[in-house]
């Protein structure tokens, strides 16, 4: 009996450990003060689990601040960028936020690579009345529970609901009204599932089967046999790269001959390595950045997208990523406010909220309002098809 309890204890402790393992590396930060400069803080996860997302963000911000300063700064004042690495950890993120606000006295803060960190950081921005431009994606970052906007927080990436709506629009256009919905069993997948359930009827789309697969899925064929029996017209697999690759491979193996749609989370080069030929034909809603060269010349974003891509790839010798685009949008929206209103935080906030309309950014065309601190629409995404290791814009 004693052994039995030991086994149960072990099992529980293993589960607990797996739920809370995080990693950390060394911090970086710089401290200088000069009254002739405008101080902005950037807080990104440039090490730890979210580093693949945080690094391009930090690099982009450093690159464009340097460029802005070389071009004369803002109304003759140089921008001083203070950066922190939150090590993909919420506690570190909050500490960095505190330092940025109380010690550095930053005029505004850009960052919060992942939603968990951004959500942990935002109460400090609200309490201390400092504009915070978040580069993480959760809708809760800019919206309170009751749907109104948070006073001091703005958010650059699309909401998940935008991606889901874009997908539903596409399905409607193609006349697929009966679909199968599979999502990964974590907040990314369940959040999108809730959005799907909310909006599907609006587009006349019905799910004949809805289910989940775990992020560590090895073989999704069992659940796919049920999908096959439900006879849908299209199959939606909502997950990030690794688990989506496994499910897509299984779909091909079972020879399920249906259109397969993915999430905006698979727009990374890795899908080509992990899913190989199975990925061919998969369609997903994604940002314009990866298909910038295929956009029509009348697209207002085309020029800045291509410019950013060229500058970033020249500077850092690696492919551009959408996660670097969000700080770009945040910074240039902020620059406009700084040019007009100087360094008064409240004036900057009011300007961001009321005077940012039709701002052409990398993620889309932003129109902020007192009610909406994100300002993007589903049209900021396009449908992208995977074809032989390439992204192809789907009309």
């Amino acid at each position: 009996m004693k052994k039995l309890w030991l086994l149960i204890f072990l099992l529980i402790s293993m589960l607990l450990i797996s739920a809370c393992n995080s990693d950390s590396k060394s911090a970086s930060g710089s401290n200088e003060s000069d009254s002739d400069t405008i101080k902005i803080a950037g807080i990104f996860s440039s090490s730890g689990g979210a580093a693949p997302l945080g690094e391009p963000g930090l690099e982009t911000l450093k690159m464009i601040v340097k460029k802005q300063n070389e071009e004369g700064g803002i109304n003759g004042k140089k921008i001083e960028l203070v950066t922190y690495d939150d090590k993909s950890d919420q506690n570190e993120a909050v500490l960095a936020m505190k330092k940025a606000i109380t010690q550095d006295k930053a005029v505004a803060i850009i960052g919060g690579t992942i939603s968990g960190n951004a959500l942990a950081m935002l109460p400090l921005s609200e309490q201390n009345k400092v504009p915070f431009i978040s580069t993480a994606s959760s809708r809760q970052i800019h919206q309170k529970e009751d749907g109104t906007a948070r006073e001091w927080v703005f958010k650059m990436p699309q909401d998940d609901s935008h991606a889901v709506e874009k997908l539903l629009q596409y399905l409607k256009e193609k006349g697929h009204s009966k679909v199968a919905w599979l999502n990964v069993a974590n907040s990314f997948g369940t959040g999108a599932h809730a959005e799907f359930k909310k909006s599907a009827r609006k587009y006349g789309i019905e799910a004949v089967i809805e289910d989940e697969f775990e992020a560590t899925v090895k073989d999704a064929k069992p659940v796919l046999t049920r999908v096959k029996k439900a006879k849908p017209q299209a199959l939606i697999v909502w997950g990030t790269v690794q688990e989506t690759s496994v499910v897509i491979k299984n779909i091909r193996e079972l020879a399920i001959d249906l259109p397969v749609l993915g999430s905006h989370g698979i727009g990374s080069q890795q899908i080509f390595n992990l899913a190989g030929d199975s990925a061919n034909g998969v369609i997903f809603p994604g940002g314009r950045l990866i298909v910038a060269d295929q956009l029509s010349d009348t697209d207002p974003q085309k020029e800045i997208l291509l410019n950013y891509k060229e500058e970033y790839e020249k500077e850092f010798k690696k492919p551009v990523s959408l996660f670097g685009a969000h700080p770009w949008d945040g910074f240039y929206i902020l620059v406009k406010a700084l040019e007009e209103k100087g360094t008064d935080r409240a004036a900057i906030r009011d300007y961001l909220e009321n005077n940012t309309s039709e701002f052409v950014g990398l993620a889309g065309v932003f129109s902020l309002s007192p009610k909406n601190h994100n300002g993007l629409t589903p049209d900021s995404l396009v449908m992208i098809k995977i074809e032989n290791g390439k992204w192809v814009l789907e009309e």
Binding site: K3, L4, L6, L7, I8, L10, L11, S13, M14, L15, I17, S18, N21, D23, G49, A51, P52, A185, D211, E212, F213, E214, T216, V217, K218, D219, K221, P222, V223, T225, R226, K228, K229, V241, Q242, S245, V246, E253, L254, A255, Q270, N273, L274, G276
Partner: protein, 293 residues
């Protein structure tokens, strides 16, 4: 899809998953029997095996050489693990030793992040992976590899423990370490041997898995956990029983997912574990009494 072909498909999936659990479960059983320790870093050996073989193949080695070298390297890691972590603490109580293995598993994951980063990687299937049609269900050649290797290892284990001198010596250490020592068998050497062999087997499990589901630094945790459940359900004291347990868990999960819901999969397999622990704690397939191994 008709019901009978669905059932066959679910059976194939269950066998594939079961064979992966089986390869790791064997490692649990061998180490548990020889040292009395539940090695909760067993899944991490699979992770090392998968990632090292991928790196070797990317460096230009043919598949067979990468598999062999990767298994050897992981065996050495296993031996180092035994010498530096388990051996110095061998006089400690069993829970202490188990906690040490948990600590090592976290350290292993950290090392893997430093070397390979957090991005998942993949391995090409061993042979041409065109699905084989069978009564309207499909079976993948990679699944045949995985199931085949598990069955091969099963027979190798039976032969090893019953017919070879080293196997007998290992068994002797379990039955009565004191008598074994009197007969000139060194239990400490046997512990080293058991842990490095299990590490090599774990590596093989990881290599077989990675064409199916990819490989990443955190793949070991869930694999280890499920294999542990499989080993306990089958019988922790007996390698063939643990393998049978692994197939039972694999098939159970596959049918739960295919006929009911994916969310219920873990509920069913962990409930099965609790049920077995309460009703038949020695495992489904183990003999109620008698010697271990």
């Amino acid at each position: 899809m008709e019901v009978h072909s669905q059932v066959i498909q679910l059976l194939f999936s269950g066998l594939t998953i079961g064979s992966i659990y089986a390869l790791i479960a064997i490692g649990f059983v061998i180490i548990y029997n020889v040292t009395g320790v539940l090695n909760l870093a067993q899944g991490e050996f699979a992770m090392f095996g998968a990632l090292i073989s991928i790196s070797l193949i990317n460096a230009g080695l043919p598949l067979w050489a990468a598999v062999i070298f990767s298994m050897l390297i992981v065996s050495v890691i296993g031996a180092l693990f035994e010498r530096t972590a388990i051996h110095p603490a061998r006089k400690s109580s069993v829970p202490t030793l188990i906690i040490i293995t948990i600590g090592c598993s976290i350290a292993f994951r950290g090392i893997a992040i430093l070397i390979w980063g957090t991005q998942p990687q993949s391995l090409q299937p061993f042979t041409d992976n065109t699905p084989i049609k069978f009564l309207n269900a499909v079976l993948l050649p990679q699944s045949i590899w995985s199931i085949g290797i598990a069955i091969l290892i099963l027979f190798a284990m039976i032969y090893f423990f019953n017919k070879t001198f080293v196997g007998k010596a290992l068994t002797a250490c379990v039955v009565n370490p004191f008598a074994a020592r009197l007969m000139g068998i060194n239990p400490e050497k046997m512990s080293l041997l058991a842990i490095s062999a299990s590490a090599g087997l774990g590596a093989l499990a990881g290599i077989v898995t990675s064409p199916i589901s990819g490989a990443s630094y955190d793949m070991g945790m869930m694999l280890g956990l499920k294999a542990f459940v499989a080993a306990v359900v089958g019988g922790l004291t007996n390698a063939p029983a643990a393998i049978a347990g692994a197939f039972v868990i694999g098939i159970l999960e596959s049918f739960t997912e295919g006929l009911w819901s994916s969310g219920a999969k873990d509920v069913v397999s962990f409930s099965m574990l609790l049920l077995i622990l309460f009703i038949k704690p020695e495992g489904l397939f183990a003999k109620a009494s008698g010697k271990r191994v």
